[in-house]
């Protein structure tokens, strides 16, 4: 898939991206090949291979395009509020598109797809760093926080439910965030 601005290339790219996403939904990971993508897109397999994309790269690109550019959440005035807003947005976005959800699940279980998914996810999460910097400025978060660690906790419960084939209710986001903020050891209570 090209990175040029040529409209002709873009049209081909769109067809390939759509074919990849359709197969992702229809068959799931591990059940289609580059040849299947080419056939569904109506292009020659050799042309797709010459473009230099692996199936993993193609899926990552397709999902990235489908998700669109990540957007920073608004300042709600508290770290808890910001985290709830961020998590709610992520839950809604992932669950709104079966292909994105399938890819999220497969990224956990297929080593071939995990690398691209991890790199892409890290880039997308960086857009939320201002919320964490605001929390540090307000004294709600230690300055030596690790953004990845924070998101490992924030996305823990939704990720597990998706892996187990369950839907996540966005209304549960406050419960997830409270556990992330205070943990479950005695002597701590969720901030209100």
């Amino acid at each position: 898939v090209s990175e040029t601005d040529d409209p002709g290339d873009q049209a081909v790219d769109d067809v390939v991206v759509d074919a990849t996403m359709d197969l992702l939904v229809a068959r799931g990971f591990g059940r289609f090949s580059l040849r299947d993508v080419a056939e569904r897109a109506g292009i020659e397999h050799a042309d797709l291979v010459r473009a230099g994309d692996s199936l993993s790269d193609l899926v990552t690109l397709a999902v990235t395009r489908r998700l669109g550019a990540p957007r920073a959440s608004a300042d709600t005035g508290s770290f808890r509020g910001d985290l709830i807003a961020i998590l709610t947005t992520i839950i809604d976005r992932v669950q709104s598109d079966p292909a994105v959800l399938n890819r999220a699940i497969a990224a956990f279980s297929h080593p071939d797809f995990r690398r691209g998914a991890v790199d892409e996810t890290r880039l997308r999460l960086e857009v939320h760093r201002p919320a964490f910097e605001r929390a540090v400025a307000r004294g709600e978060l230690d300055p030596d926080y690790d953004l990845q660690h924070c998101f490992e906790l924030l996305l823990a419960t939704p990720s597990l439910r998706w892996l187990e084939g369950r839907a996540v209710d966005p209304a549960d986001a406050p419960h997830f965030v409270d556990l992330v903020l205070t943990g479950f050891a005695s002597g701590a209570a969720p901030p209100r």
């Binding site: 799931g28 990971f29 591990g30 059940r31 770290f79 399938n102 699940i105 497969a106 990224a107 956990f108 279980s109 297929h110 080593p111 995990r114 690398r115 998914a117 991890v118 004294g139 709600e140 978060l141 230690d142 926080y145 990845q148 660690h149 924070c150 998101f151 490992e152 906790l153 996305l155 823990a156 419960t157 939704p158 990720s159 597990l160 439910r161 892996l163 187990e164 084939g165 419960h175 997830f176 556990l179 992330v180 903020l181 205070t182 943990g183 479950f184 050891a185 005695s186 002597g187 701590a188 209570a189 901030p191």
Partner: protein
Amino acid sequence: VSPPARTSGTGVGRPRDTAIDAAIDDAAFAVLVEHGIAGFSLGEIARRVGVPKSTVYRRWGTQQALLVHALELLEQAQPPVPDNGSLRADLIALVEQRFVEFETQAAVTIERLGAEAGDDRAVLGPVWRIGERRHDAGRVAFRRAVERGEVRADLDVELAVEFLAGSVWTHIFSRRPRGASDAAAIVDRLLHGIASDA
């Protein structure tokens, strides 16, 4: 990870060679872990055992029946719940167990099977039961912690169990190191959260 000792059979007619039954179990388990559902074939299992494919067919009838049996073997291979006297120690032990499972591909196999199964309930059933057994290990640890007063009185144990299991997955997903000190760091974040103490 290896399959547990054989506990059941489904055949009819003359007594079967239990050594072949056990060899089929071992091969089915190995093929499932190595290749997932997509690569699970009676032909490959028969080849590994060194018997004709018809021998496997006579015992199991269909590939699906043996696949479900192999999933059940995977389920029975889950380790017992550790009791180390404190929630922190129990959780670290559980997280370390999951790291080992990941290294042996057993955990990944189970999740991959779930992803590959689509709507196939015969496959999803054992996969979900494996997940439940893992959650049971967390539940036992948290219930002991409730009795010892180690967790908040208002803690939602079911949510905490999910939080624990999910945190292991997101840590593995991020390709971070997976040693004993990493398990302790994960558990400490789970216990105390990320909010500043100030």
